[in-house]
Assembly symmetry: C2
Homo-oligomer: 188 residues x 2
């Protein structure tokens, strides 16, 4: 039996990110992460399947938030408004996590396998939002187009938000990016 | 020195696809592909790096066509119109390739690693179109939003085109999908 460790997950995440930034993702071992966090490898594996999952933890919760926002939109809401509502629900979650998100982005960008995993995550989010829209009786190709627009806005707004010189909040940037997409497709 | 084989690439592609459909991608070897095509393994490797590349051959040409269409759009063309012109240029290329595209889609969908590669290909196309738009002095986030809309329309129109019951041509479906995206973001 292992004893309870306060905030073990958070300590492991912080330790892992420090090491990924200092030594690179490939060069870091789970043993080093556990040692830096003052915990055991066994505790690490109770929280994460492997060192890659430290970077993708929270993906299921994010997907759930997108899907439940679409599911809960009032009857008669236009598809793009459902997507906008989902984006606004999601944008609030990240507010305090910009330093983490910025370091995570750097680690992922430096590693092609992690970058592919991130692309795959975006494709999975888009699939899930598309399914949620079809469950609301939105037909094709509207459901898929709305879903992929939604995840494109999420991805591009996220990049804008974590840019070095940015000082605006994520919710504001989401609103601006949605407006920019409307302007693009309107041809203005 | 090996002798010249007429249409060796085409014969290898057809042989490979037959085997992928009959036995599955994983179960097929390069030796079997070469044998079915009546060619040697050495000839196979002059045309393709590995059996996966048979499915992704043409990716560079596709990327080049997207990029050159954006580069050649007349001065003053709106970004979304540049994307539409690129899509129309690309859509003509696939016209005779529907049976191949349909079988390719089935093989890729049945194999998670190939599906990830396909997602990664779409992300790369989007990056390339975004770069081509920035080279035309389109600023952010417009360039990235236009590029990802362009590739989403390509991907979704492609799925519509290869659907079992579809009888319409790819260029027509591209036009309809572009119109559908405009309707989505206009909230109608």
């Amino acid at each position: 039996m292992s004893r309870w460790e306060p905030d073990a997950r958070g300590r492991l995440q912080r330790a892992a990110m420090e090491l990924y930034v200092e030594h690179g993702f490939e060069q870091t071992t789970v043993a080093e992460i556990a040692e830096r966090a003052g915990l055991t490898e066994r505790t690490f594996f109770r929280h994460f399947a492997d060192k890659r999952e430290v970077l993708f933890f929270g993906q299921e919760a994010l997907l759930e938030l997108f899907v439940s926002s679409v599911a809960q939109a009032p009857e008669g809401t236009a598809p793009f408004e459902m997507a906008a509502a989902a984006l606004h629900a999601v944008s609030g979650v990240f507010e305090d996590r910009r330093p983490w998100s910025l370091e995570r982005h750097r680690v992922i960008s430096a590693n092609p396998a992690l970058a592919e995993r991130e692309q795959s995550k975006m494709a999975r989010l888009s699939e899930a939002v598309g399914t949620a829209l079809r469950d609301r009786n939105i037909s094709e190709p509207t459901a898929s187009l709305t879903a992929s627009s939604c995840i494109s806005v999420f991805h591009i707004a996220f990049q804008t938000w974590i840019a070095e010189d940015n000082t605006r909040g994520f919710p504001q940037i989401v609103t601006e990016t949605l407006d920019a997409l409307k302007a693009v497709t309107a041809g203005t």
